[in-house]
């Protein structure tokens, strides 16, 4: 099975043209083709993971198949190949599983949409790109799929392209990611310039012994810009909340499996590069930690159900990046996996609510629990998992990150992480108390969604409960002995950290209940009392506005300057050459009289001069 792992991205990749060219007209067949393809990939991924276990494939002994793709002897060698280690195997499973469930769910959600078939074709291409990215064995290939993922996100975020805001959001996601991709590209070109290879394993062997750490640090910092954009870290996070303009299943896919996970996955793949540079690791850790806190505070003040979830994703991605930065690749990947399940569940649940109400403002919802029992209860399970209550999945993975920060001596980041855990519990349960309990505010009545939508919710709810058990510190051969960097290690349970984070999560839920659990005017009072802070949070710290201002001033100002330079200096030179030729031609043409005798005189004079010149030696040097 592992030999044919390259087929995993091929199935959905083939489904894309089939849907576009053949089954476009028959809507259900299109969905069936897409689902069959991703299901085949899922089965293959399960098989690959099983063989990884059975054959004893470890992080040190990965399986690699590669064929030369582009070769210029002595200059360039680019391979098309796959690299399978436990890291890739786990990612394959997560991506195919979430994508499969999202596609099944979409049959119900997108029912009746005129773009039904193309939606499924884009989903297939999206999954194919992400799976290719996971399997890539060198930087060049990973970049290729990285760009494809970006393209698909553009197509899907702007899926309702007739809506102006959706079209703009797609563009924003694409452009922001392009900025980050450029940094990533420069970074791995630097690596190629230093080591002469794109291959991960060859680089992993060469990097630790490399002396010129300044240059290496530059390359690592540039590579890190890629994840900053893709995984929506500060300051390139602005595209992610706007990406909520896409259909909700797309948000689930982007936030759980295919898009933002790519950045964290790249950090894990390139971990050897970062691990050798303490300074860059510190940068990674603090960017992640800051993003976690920054977006958690914004989420507290949002009203749109999908935007709250979007900022929550940013915050959790911050956790993952922070885990990478404090040196625990295991904790980051573990959280990526558990988060994929419960965040997909949250988004699909939100989609179920939006599908029923066609309303996204949580303050216009209320009392939904009575109408949509399955959606509400699965949503609450996911929220508990996200808040990190034991024994749900999020508890184990978040705890591992906090414990890693604590154990590696990053006390500041540990406190920050705990604070974020408190905020997470608070904003999630603010959402739940407002939307699912209490009175119906706007007279909106929900109704339960069809089975194609609720079954994926139930499956994901089960996963949100059990997925954490593979990595608990109480399991003897857990996640940490499977996906790791350096030595396989066993994480000792840190009871103090566990207890504190549980208490903090409960406190967050409790505060949410106090403020929103029953009718009260305390939230409004707080908002008026701390007006400035509240406005700042509602407006997302004005980051978008700052970017617009910068864009207007700096980019457009520079463009003006370059425009002037181009018009007057560059064009001036070329126009000058043209004018010179034209004017000199105009003046010089008067030399041509057209009079034959004048020409003859000139020719004769020239002949005489040449003759005298040549005769000079004979004439005794009279002339010279």
């Amino acid at each position: 099975m592992i030999k044919y792992a390259w087929l995993i991205p091929v199935f959905p990749a083939v489904a894309f043209p089939i849907i576009i060219f053949l089954t476009r007209k028959v809507r259900l067949l299109s969905a069936l083709v897409a689902i069959a393809a991703i299901a085949a990939s899922f089965v293959m991924a399960v098989g690959v993971l099983r063989e990884v276990f059975l054959l004893g494939v470890t992080m040190e002994k990965p399986v690699e198949y590669a064929a030369p793709w582009l070769q210029i002897p002595g200059l360039l060698k680019i391979e098309a190949g796959i690299l399978i280690d436990p890291l890739a195997a786990v990612m394959l499973l997560v991506v195919t599983l979430v994508a499969l469930l999202v596609e099944i769910y979409s049959v119900g959600y997108m029912h009746g949409d005129p773009g039904f078939s193309s939606f499924f074709s884009y989903l297939s291409l999206f999954s194919a790109s992400m799976l290719g990215l996971v399997l890539a064995n060198n930087y060049f290939m990973i970049f290729f799929f990285w760009e494809l993922v970006g393209l698909c996100s553009y197509l899907l975020i702007g899926f309702y392209y007739h809506k102006h805001s959706a079209a703009r959001a797609g563009l924003k996601a694409f452009v922001t990611n392009r900025v980050a991709d450029f940094g990533f590209m420069l970074g791995f070109f630097f690596l190629f310039a230093m080591f002469g290879t794109f291959n991960f394993r060859e680089l992993a062997e060469a990097i630790p012994g490399y002396q010129n750490t300044g240059f290496l640090a530059l390359a690592a910092a540039l590579v890190f810009i890629g994840p900053i954009g893709k995984s929506a870290q500060f300051p390139l996070h602005v595209w992610l909340p706007d990406a909520m303009e896409g259909p909700t299943p797309v948000s689930a896919l982007i936030h759980a499996a295919t898009m933002v996970a790519a950045g964290v996955y790249l950090l894990a793949r390139a971990f050897v590069l970062f691990a050798s540079l303490p300074g860059i690791m510190l940068l990674v850790a603090y960017v992640g930690g800051f993003t976690a806190l920054f977006s958690a505070t914004i989420a507290v003040a949002q009203r749109d159900i999908k935007r709250i979830l979007a900022y929550s994703t940013m915050s959790q991605l911050g956790y993952m990046v922070m885990a990478m930065g404090v040196g625990s690749m295991t904790a980051g990947m573990f959280h990526l996996m558990t988060h994929a399940f419960f965040k997909a569940l949250l988004f699909l649940g939100a989609g179920s609510v939006i599908h029923a109400l066609e309303e996204q403002d949580i303050f216009r919802m209320g009392g939904l629990y009575k109408d949509m029992k399955v959606t509400a209860s699965t949503f609450i399970i996911a929220a508990l998992a996200l808040a990190g209550l034991p024994p749900l999945a999020g508890f184990w993975s978040k705890d591992e990150i906090l414990a890693a920060a604590f154990d590696h001596g990053f006390t500041g980041l540990y406190i920050l992480g705990t604070l974020v855990a408190f905020l997470t519990a608070f904003y999630m349960f603010r959402l739940i108390f407002v939307a699912f309990f209490g009175n119906r505010r706007a007279g909106l009545h929900g109704h339960e969604s069809p089975l194609t939508m609720t079954i994926p919710l139930l499956i994901l709810a089960v996963l949100s409960v059990v997925a954490g058990f593979v990595g608990t510190p109480f399991a003897s051969h857990g996640f940490s002995t499977f996906v790791y960097y350096g030595e396989p290690h066993h994480v000792e349970p840190n009871y103090a950290v566990m207890l504190l984070s549980t208490l903090v999560a409960l406190a967050g839920i409790g505060l949410a209940w106090l403020l929103y659990g029953r009718p009260s005017d305390v939230p409004e009072k707080l908002a008026t009392r701390y007006r400035s802070i509240y406005t700042l949070l509602v407006n997302k710290f004005y980051i978008d506005e700052i970017y617009m201002w910068l864009f207007r001033r700096v980019v457009l100002g520079l463009s003006e300057a370059f425009n002037w330079h181009d018009r007057h200096v560059v064009d001036g030179i070329f126009d000058g050459v043209g004018d010179l030729t034209r004017i000199s031609g105009q003046k010089l043409r008067f030399l041509q009289t057209g009079n034959l005798q004048t020409y003859a005189l000139v020719i004769f004079t020239a002949v005489v001069i040449i003759a005298l010149w040549m005769a000079a030696p004979v004439l005794g040097g009279v002339i010279q």
Partner: protein
């Protein structure tokens, strides 16, 4: 005694007269006559060189005959051109024949 130098002086004089005629005359026929004079000056030189330096061979004389033949052809073409221009413009003044310039 007439020496080679006398012939060369005569040839040079004739050439200069011909050159002056070719460059300075306004009438196209006169210009053609000047060119003929220059060619004949060269012929005198050729024959004189042949007679004084290599009397055993007739190279110079044969060459002179070639020049006469070419000159006759050239006069035929030249006069035809002048005649046509004259018919067209009722004038054979070379100063006015400047329509080949810009």
């Amino acid at each position: 005694m007439i020496t080679l130098n006398h012939y060369l002086a005569l040839g040079g004089l004739l050439f200069c007269i011909g050159l002056f005629g070719a460059l300075a005359k306004r009438n196209a026929v006169a210009v053609l006559m000047g060119i003929e004079l220059m060619l004949n000056a060269v012929n005198i030189n050729l024959v004189a060189f042949n007679h004084f330096l290599e009397p055993a061979r007739v190279t110079g004389q044969v060459f002179a005959i070639f020049v006469i033949v070419v000159a006759a052809a050239e006069v035929a073409v030249g006069l035809a051109l002048v005649l046509n221009i004259y018919r067209r413009r009722l004038d054979s003044n070379v100063d006015d024949l400047d329509w080949l310039r810009w």
